[in-house]
Symmetry: C2
Subunit: 238 residues, 2 copies
DNA sequence: GCAAAAGTGTTGACTATACACCCATGC
DNA sequence: GCATGGGTGTATAGTCAACACTTTTGC
């Protein structure tokens, strides 16, 4: 491994963020409108350059704070997806991008932070063709989050500090795009120690009507044993 | 998102490889001895710079070919782990490294490719303190591979084109560090369509003694449904 | 009362585990 | 024969999906 500051062409290192949240029970992603070429007028994932004194994770959290204008992004779940480094992914120069998925509990309205001309929450299914390779990054983010719901406690990252089991179930249903059986979902969640813990005595009305639901907090566990597998589209093997 | 070639300090982008294989039933990793400061004399993961015209994946495969001196690395499994970008991870300059795990079926002896002074297969457990943050990269590689064995067909990447079910089981046992019940392992593998397919009529002696084992090839499937979960160290939940 | 949403119970089918047993080979 | 590793069978416990049912609220 030879190190020589002049032996290579400089690379730009950026971060791109797939910021996901649930709005009205549907998965949404934060997009920004590009103001300049290339892809001017197209929508893209928010992102920006990694500064010389920060890691990609730090840069991602900084960009997230700028784009969402949230007062506190320190508790949000940020997950490194992978790095996209095709030489031609940006037509102007060599840009290596470290992609992240960020999970938000509530969806504050966003209409332009400091960087972007315009920012918008877009339903995942309507996130049309995006600039650069961002369609692929977004698809990878969806796939990763969907997979991690199966065997980690990640779903609580989409929920506010106190939530009902119905809201937690909505996370699974929105990300996976399938309906789940409520009694069975409930049992699986409660059977996993440390996934959620009850808030004593607290309950809340959810849909206006119906029985008030008990409230839960995220527990200490991070992994799910056994996993909560998404239903197979067809037959379960032999 | 502003792009300006002069607005940032240049980053070096490298790849680091955790090359894993099975030797005598035990997990081994390929290490190279560093010849220069920093960490001169220490062992490190092989790696090198990403060239201006190649992606990180291409660079990783090129480095893999150089380090192992294998004639054909095109069929080997290469998996991007994550990117390590702490500002101080290399004392000399800003180096962002994209880490990969590579899985090799057989372990050719390696003693210095073109780059490294010396290369060696080291048992995973004896891979002492490594240079830079390579201990962490190696641990992340092990964790990732162990997890992917559960729900993908990755295990065949450790096996030669034709292999016995006993050899496949050894992969799981070596990576997970646990013993598995042979009859049950066999059933699970064969119950997953597309995991392995029999080589008609072929069989081979394995340990010198014992009944010759039937040979199998890797199948077309990539995902495992249902997953082959590693045994829980204790109680299976409620 | 009725609709809606939360929460509980039950049953039958499937699956996994642990273990006993048989087969083919080298020595 | 006997040790070694491959391959088959099976009984029991456990788990899961499906669905019926009860509870508590708003209207």
């Amino acid at each position: 491994m030879e190190y020589d500051k002049h032996a290579y062409e400089p690379f730009a290192v950026t971060v791109d963020l797939a910021v996901l949240t649930l709005r009205a029970g549907a998965l949404h992603v934060l997009l920004v409108e590009r103001g300049q070429e290339p892809y001017a007028g197209s929508w893209a994932l928010p992102g920006g350059f990694v500064q010389p004194d920060e890691s990609a994770e730090t840069a991602a959290r900084r960009e997230l704070a700028e784009e969402t204008a949230l007062s506190d992004v320190s508790g949000l779940h940020l997950e490194q997806l992978r790095t996209y480094s095709e030489p031609d992914r940006d037509p102007r120069m060599r840009v290596v991008s470290v992609a992240f998925a960020a999970l938000l509990p509530d969806a504050p309205e966003v209409h332009g932070g400091s960087d972007a001309a315009q920012a918008r929450w877009v339903p995942y299914d309507e996130a049309g063709p995006l600039a650069f390779d961002h369609d692929r990054i977004l698809a990878d983010a969806h796939e990763r989050v969907g997979a991690k719901l199966e065997y980690t406690c990640l779903a609580t990252a989409f929920c506010p500090p106190e939530f009902t089991l119905g809201e937690l179930q909505q996370v699974y249903e929105a990300v996976w795009g399938t309906a789940l059986d409520r009694p069975n979902f409930r049992r699986k969640v409660l059977a996993t120690p440390g996934f959620v813990e009850p808030v004593p005595g607290a309950s809340r009305l959810t849909g206006g009507r119906g029985k008030p639901a008990a409230l839960y907090r995220a527990g200490a566990a991070t992994a799910l044993h056994p996993p909560l597998l998404r239903p197979t589209p067809e037959g379960h093997s032999a």
